[in-house]
């Protein structure tokens, strides 16, 4: 029971980060039909920016908000300056460009902050550690039904929960949300009711990158170390989550993210010999493949009839 609870909380806290990145993937995909391969790297860049703000002595709460603003700008500029003009050429070109951005952003992180890892355990000579949003000392845990649950994990789940609720409030009850849903449903008609679809797409990319920034910071907090590969695996899991939930369904992304986090931790926990640390990523692969073969539009996605 204790183990189960611990794995549940671990799975949910990791899964909620996947859900955030998956939400970003879905927001962009719905608006433009592109899969942004640089989604994770945009988040990583913002995460390092937050780390830098922390180094400069800015309190973590404010640093995160500033980091999200940087992320928003990065996403919006990417859409306007790069993706929009290139998408007129071909979807293939967009794919190559997002791979290029992936590579470029990853290099920029390394070039500015170095390729070395930031040990996140709080030990070591320099005491370098990623600023955490929540208490994460070894003593910061609560005991529930005999299981020691880290306050950090609960905090992550709560934070992501609040953010998700806020996002859905934006989707369903604001002008921007209405415009985003309208553009996703029918771009031409959205133009015809006077929505500036260009601005909406720009905002979508910005929003996706901003929540990615938060996901990056949160994930850096619960990871044992922060390095240049941090968000790549998260991106893989988030893609699996988006595939599972349906690429055009924000609700599906959340459910998908949490499911992937749970499946992974439960599988690695209960079948350590078969899954273990090595094949955790194999779970994501099987999920993507299985979903695409048997339910191509995911659990909550809409399938559209293809016409010639």
């Amino acid at each position: 029971m204790e183990l189960f609870l611990q794995r549940l909380v671990d799975g949910l806290s990791e899964g909620s980060v996947y859900a955030l990145i998956a939400l970003g993937i879905v927001i962009i995909y719905r608006g433009t039909g592109h899969l942004n391969f640089a989604q994770g790297e945009m988040a990583l860049f913002s995460t390092f920016v937050v780390y830098q703000f922390g180094e400069w002595g800015i309190p973590i709460g404010i640093a995160v908000i500033m980091g999200m603003a940087v992320g928003f700008t990065l996403g919006a500029v990417t859409e306007v300056a790069i993706v929009r003009p290139i998408s007129k050429k071909s979807p293939f070109a967009v794919f190559i460009v997002t791979i290029g951005l992936f590579q470029l952003l990853n290099w920029v992180d390394g070039a500015i902050w170095g390729g070395q890892q930031l040990p996140n355990t709080g030990v070591g000579s320099k005491q370098v550690r990623f600023p955490s949003l929540f208490p994460n000392n070894p003593t910061d845990f609560v005991t529930i039904f005999g299981a020691n649950i880290k306050i950090q994990s609960l905090g992550v789940i709560a934070l992501v929960g609040v953010l998700t609720v806020a996002l859905f409030a934006i989707f369903n009850h604001t002008r921007l949300g209405l415009a985003m849903r309208a553009v996703a449903a029918n771009g031409e008609s959205a133009k015809l009711v006077g929505i500036r679809t260009g601005r909406v797409l720009m905002a979508s990319w910005g929003l996706a990158a901003a929540i990615g920034a938060l996901g990056g910071v949160v994930f850096a907090g619960i990871s044992t170390n922060v390095n240049l590969g941090l968000m790549f695996t998260v991106f893989i899991y988030a893609s699996a989550a988006a595939t599972l939930g349906g690429f055009d369904s924000p609700g599906g992304a959340v459910v998908g993210g949490l499911s992937i986090g749970l499946i992974q931790n439960m599988a690695a926990g209960y079948a350590p010999k078969w899954v273990g640390q090595e094949m955790k990523v194999g779970v994501a692969f099987l999920v993507i493949l299985g979903v695409l073969l048997f339910r191509p539009s995911g659990l909550f996605g809409t399938s559209r009839v293809e016409r010639v």
């Binding site: 849903r181 015809l192 009711v193 006077g194």
Partner: protein, 241 residues
């Protein structure tokens, strides 16, 4: 007729898609309070004309609305100016509820939630079927209901000129007739000006103040409904004989 003010007028309007030019210099006029119908067979360029006026495709030539050139305006500016289009094939937002579709129609309005809610209530009274289905996804409505929704959504922006692209397409004759009655009523009671492109000649002529006949991107005839039905040009444009 001379006392009426000109709402929309186009001079040598030319448009197309990439290498294809579909409209070869169109001159039309819509006066305030009129229902102007552009008739044409399939492929004559009716939808292209609508898109060119709404500014969703590149166009050359002149378009004036209320005496001001809107040639360089983007689609959203044109909607703000008071021209709103009901796209062909309805073009509702299928994943959004009926109520959200109507809300999206009021996107350009800045006169507050109360006024918008009042308008929604008003169009619900004109189209009671929409009220019954206000929480349903627009994609689940029947063709006729979607067409009503598309018109109501367009009217939510309080346009001065409504562009209607083939409202009869794919609809049974009875429903088509009902729709045209509503459009006629809106014109009479609200003074709404309408530019309507249609394939269904007989039905459209019935409510038209004036008619243009479009054939392969060129206006080949114009006049009152009575004038046009007197000669053979419609029959020829449509049936080729």
């Amino acid at each position: 007729m001379t006392s009426q003010t000109t709402l929309l007028n186009t001079r040598f309007l030319t448009a197309g898609y990439g290498p294809v030019t579909v409209l070869h210099g169109i001159d039309i006029e819509v006066n305030e309070g009129e229902i102007v119908v552009v008739l044409g067979a399939n492929g004559a360029g009716k939808t292209t004309l609508m898109r060119a006026i709404s500014g969703t495709i590149p166009r050359t030539g002149n378009i004036e609305f209320e005496g001001r050139s809107i040639k360089k305006d983007s689609t959203d500016a044109i909607v703000r100016a008071g021209i709103v289009q009901v796209p062909q094939g309805r073009g509702t937002f299928p994943e959004l509820s009926v109520a959200d579709n109507l809300l999206a129609g009021a996107y350009v309005r800045r006169d507050g939630a109360k006024a918008v809610a009042d308008d929604i209530a008003k169009w619900y009274s004109v189209f009671p079927r929409l009220q019954e289905r206000s929480t349903q996804r627009a994609g689940s409505l029947s063709g006729g209901e979607q067409q009503m929704l598309a018109i109501a959504r367009a009217l939510m922006s309080r346009p001065k000129l409504l562009l209607c692209d083939e409202p009869s397409m794919g609809l049974a004759p009875l429903i088509t007739r009902e729709l045209f009655n509503v459009i006629g009523q809106l014109n009479k009671e609200e003074g709404l000006s309408v530019l309507l492109v249609e394939q269904n000649a007989n039905l459209a002529m019935h409510i038209a103040s004036r008619v243009y006949l479009l054939e392969t991107g060129v206006i080949v005839a114009s006049g009152s409904a009575a004038e046009l039905s007197a000669d053979d040009s419609i029959r020829k444009a449509y049936l080729g004989f």
